[in-house]
Symmetry: C2
Subunit: 623 residues, 2 copies
């Protein structure tokens, strides 16, 4: 087997301890099986690291991967993945991002970049095609992500050199820190802290290679079909390209699953008129699409007047409207834009940061958090939120207590605080009150990264899209299979690497066929629809095995007690919970359809079926 | 006479009302006489506009000029001037800036760009060599200067396209608004509001022409001599290239002329340990020199920890340490960096904005300003300063009252408030308590732009540099001649256009000879040392005539009453004033040496001597 297209077949390994870089050939059969993105990165991390390593220690690695479609003419394929052991969850972290870094990485000639070891001083990595330099970053250390990127581009005399960097939050090892790839972000699971722990401020990359395409005709035909699907969609262009992901807010709020005040008051407040997409539409300043994306969901929004006038941000996304808005009792789109910008500057996950502050506000109201150093943590206090975000990035005072997310915050507080920590596996739950969205709840419970909406987005429940079949969002039965379907569907996209957003909106049963066409056309390796489907399944299993090796099992697949015990207060999801019994019922269904045992451990048979027999050795002894 | 080098001989005229651009030839004899920079711009504005126009009306013009050395290999020559009628003072405004815009303007082939008229919607101007476009700027309108520049560069796909733009302050016509030329600023006299009044958000420019040099050997020899002077200086490299303009703070504070609390407490507080250059030195992150500047006084400074951690700014300059520090009773370098950055983002003059807030703080303390909308304007209140800066840029509430500077603020308040307005001709006085610097005081009183340190910097008094002779800073006698010398010296540099900073530090009597060599070498027009000296004299006279035509005379050349009446409280300048009598004595001396009459009006003889006979028609009837 040889590589005919889609890949360069090259892996770049950069060791920061020794300050060396080496080039390795990638085995074509290995690429055919693990393809790219989240799966390729996870598999390499799995093979190259031992279980139990300190995620912020020298042994952990940052693995950048892209896919065979990245850097080609295929739309929405400028995606990359960073795989690492998450310091926030202890589980595998796959964190994806769009933008321009991915295509530049591909054009530089690399399918994989592994960053390992730890520099003894602040450095950045400069990659121009096959030329790699590790340079001092003293003069950028401390700067926010915007200044870092701007100064690096100026100093390197190149607007189009693409930069992946951390801000102060990552430098200070906050577990809520992100990695900024210009206007796009690998946002969650503490990836920024891993970069910071290596004394790595940034990676700057520039490439000049053309990606070979094995079968241009087949490839172009698949692209035409892909564009046709976008065009036919009633959501992609008519809605999504105008409002971006905020399009879901009215729907979520109207159906009563948009969380209010740390999930305490879900359904009580309808945010349609204050935080709805129509409000954010009035604040759109300009577009800023990822490379080769015809949809351009990313919008630069700006506050037009008042206290935050002139502050602009690329976003905010749906999730941020929740985490820096409704869950804090703040119903002000201006503030959400300002706080979104601040998080981006600090290099901090908007979801994790906001949800942790929301939890602190509830603890404050309930008298569980008493020593706030004079800060008034009342719901809706915008000023204190801005203060806390800064304090969290710098680990100052109360900020230090919040800087590692809800789970560690709850542990530090004790006194029953964990009830108010809206997280699974340590990862804060995004803006869907899953008491009203059972499959999405099961996804949050079982997603290999923790409570992650993007790893198995239940669009059937959230948007009522009847594909592969109509779904009752409040029903418990059948959600095991649906969740697997969604996780494998999203997983496929995370592997190949394509943006899930437009695809979810153009669903018509053609996705796998189109992806098969794109992959086959680009690489010259024949992929069937079934093989494409299997990519998502394989991804979810190799990630699960990473976590199993770390000690994860069924016990880690439960939603927080509030979701199990406390019904939604008002609205169209009123009275809903996902009880312990519901959670168990859905887990049983889910494990069965996944081919996992009752404890959530993949069976040897399933692993063999997916070609993952080399992981069988890591199954717990009792299996 | 024909042009052999240094010039392209071309003027670009852009009319925003008609959306047209035209090219005009510049007469070589006209260029020989008015050369470039401040003089060329003023002369064109003088000739093309009538007296009494509304500075924010359609008749006013923005005239960008550079000089014959700009864009050549001559160091420190990347300077430009914007000439316009100042809406803040009603006098001529020359506002200079370094950076990269000037060289790009030259390389685009233009010695002069006149922007006239008014667009009927927000626009920006895109100039690539001789291609000129007026484009819609709706999507940039409202953005701060940093975002504007970044997005424009991204959208135009060009890192090296150079941008001159306004922020919210200019859009909202604050008379304290500036024009940002990337990291450099045309900062004062309300230039930003003139740009805003034309609905012009930005000028983006890119050039590809090489500047012709008439006599390379002569030119290179002059450059060698210039670089030798820098090298020989005890200040340029050893001090200035490390600390930038903050190097003067310890000296000013130690000698008791660094103003404290709106000049109320000058000499009472020594700021050496809190705001001195040594403090700012610890905050230097990186350099960022203007084009071809070997000295690199511009430093990016960053706050390392605490409340403002991670905020960086290019600067602050000496003046800003005063205006956003000591005169507000704030002795915190971190805050000065943060407030400097905010002003740059808003597009606001740090001097004017800070001094106006300082005045408000004193009026608040004295009970003259009572309605502050709940804002606590106590000395040292950092939070309220940040709030006010924003409110001024957006003309909100109390901010509206302060947004047009001290003079208009005093007029609005009445009740003796004008005593506390530290301004001349409406322009706020920079950070030198001139009660302890008599020539610098006379310069502030007589400078054609209002209280402007850069139009006649008295380095003999400020730094004790004995050139052209040693000077007693507290003496009144002889300051007329010294002030003329300094104004003509600085004026020469504003005309040719060279940066004054390194020159003032390399003074050894060679400046005019070197400039003559540079000009002659570049242009092929023979300039003698005497002719170079005359440039500064001619500049000061043509500008004075602009002001005379607007009704200015001796009556406008007085320092504020506080300086005349209230002695400095403590320190090495204790007890000093510049009394009305001192002011008059110095004016008499000054007018005489200038060849002006007792009323400060140039005599016809003087105008003829300088070749300005065409302005004689504008002398007041009584002359």
């Amino acid at each position: 087997m040889s590589l005919k297209g889609g890949y360069f077949g090259k892996l770049l390994r950069i060791n920061l301890t020794n300050r060396t870089s080496t080039v390795e050939d990638l085995d074509p059969a290995f690429l055919k099986k693990y393809v790219g993105g989240a799966m390729l990165g996870t598999k390499i991390l799995y093979d190259e690291t031992r279980p139990g390593i300190d995620a912020l220690g020298e042994e952990n690695k940052l693995i950048y991967t892209i896919g065979p479609l990245t850097g080609t003419d295929c739309p929405t394929a400028s995606r990359m993945n960073i795989a690492t052991k998450s310091p926030l969850t202890g589980a595998i972290c796959n964190s994806l991002s769009g933008g321009f870094f991915p295509v530049e990485m591909k054009w530089a000639g690399w399918d994989v970049i592994i960053i390992e070891g730890k520099a003894d001083e602040p450095v950045y990595i400069l990659i121009k095609d096959d030329k790699v330099e590790i340079r001092k970053a003293e003069k950028y250390w401390g700067l926010n992500t915007f200044d870092t990127q701007n100064y690096l581009k100026e100093d390197l005399h190149d607007l189009n050199i693409r930069i992946s960097c951390i801000g102060p939050a990552g430098e200070n090892l906050s577990l809520l820190s992100s990695i900024a790839n210009e206007a796009r972000v690998c946002g969650r699971k503490g990836v920024g802290a891993v970069m910071g722990s290596k004394n790595l401020k940034a990676v700057a990359i520039r490439g000049s290679n053309k990606v070979p395409i094995a079968d241009q005709e087949k490839f172009k035909a698949a692209i035409r079909e892909q564009l046709h699907e976008f065009k036919e969609s009633h959501i992609a262009y008519p809605v999504f390209s105008k409002t971006g992901s905020t399009c879901g807010i009215e729907n979520a709020s109207g159906l009563g699953f948009f969380p209010i005040k740390n999930w305490m008051d879900t359904g009580v407040v309808d945010v349609s008129d204050t935080l709805g997409s129509k409000v954010f539409l009035t604040q759109v300043q300009k577009g800023n699409p990822c490379y080769k994306c015809p949809i351009d969901c990313a919008k630069v929004r700006m506050v037009k007047k008042g206290r935050y006038a002139g502050i602009s941000s690329e976003g905010p996304e749906f999730e941020t409207v929740y985490s820096l808005g409704s869950t804090l009792g703040i119903y002000n789109s201006d503030f959400v834009i300002a706080a979104d910008r601040l998080c981006d500057e600090l290099g901090m996950d908007t979801i994790g940061a906001g949800v942790t502050i929301g939890m602190a506000m509830e603890l404050y109201e309930k008298g569980i958090l008493t020593d706030t150093e004079g800060l008034d943590l009342s719901w809706g206090n915008e000023e204190v939120v801005l203060q806390l975000l800064r304090m969290m990035a710098y680990k100052e005072g109360l900020g230090k207590l919040l800087s590692d997310g809800t789970r560690k915050f709850a542990q530090a507080i004790g006194n029953g605080a964990d009830y108010y920590a809206m997280q699974v596996k340590g990862l804060e739950i995004p803006g869907y009150d899953v008491r009203g969205l059972k499959s999405h709840g099961l996804n949050m419970a079982t997603s290999y990264t923790g409570a992650d909406h993007n790893r198995g987005y239940a669009f059937q429940e959230i948007f009522g899209i009847p594909f592969p079949h109509a779904v009752e969002r409040l029903a418990i039965e059948g959600k095991g299979a649906l969740t697997k379907w969604n996780q494998d569907f999203c997983g496929t996209y995370d592997v190949v690497t394509l943006c899930e957003f437009p695809t979810q909106m153009a669903l018509s049963g053609t996705a796998q066929r189109i992806v098969a066409g794109l992959l086959t056309g680009a690489t010259g390796i024949d992929y069937t629809e079934e093989e494409v489907w299997e990519l998502g399944d394989r991804l979810n299993n190799v990630c699960r095995m990473y976590n199993v090796r770390e000690g994860f099992s069924r016990k880690d697949d439960y939603l927080p007690r509030r979701i199990q015990e406390e019904p939604i207060k008002e609205g169209l999801s009123k009275g809903e919970v996902i009880s312990k019994e519901d959670n168990d019922f859905m887990l049983d269904e889910y494990y069965e359809v996944r081919g996992w045992d009752k404890n959530g451990i993949p069976t040897p048979g399933k692993l063999i079926e997916l070609g993952l027999e080399d992981t069988i050795k890591d199954l717990p002894a009792s299996n």
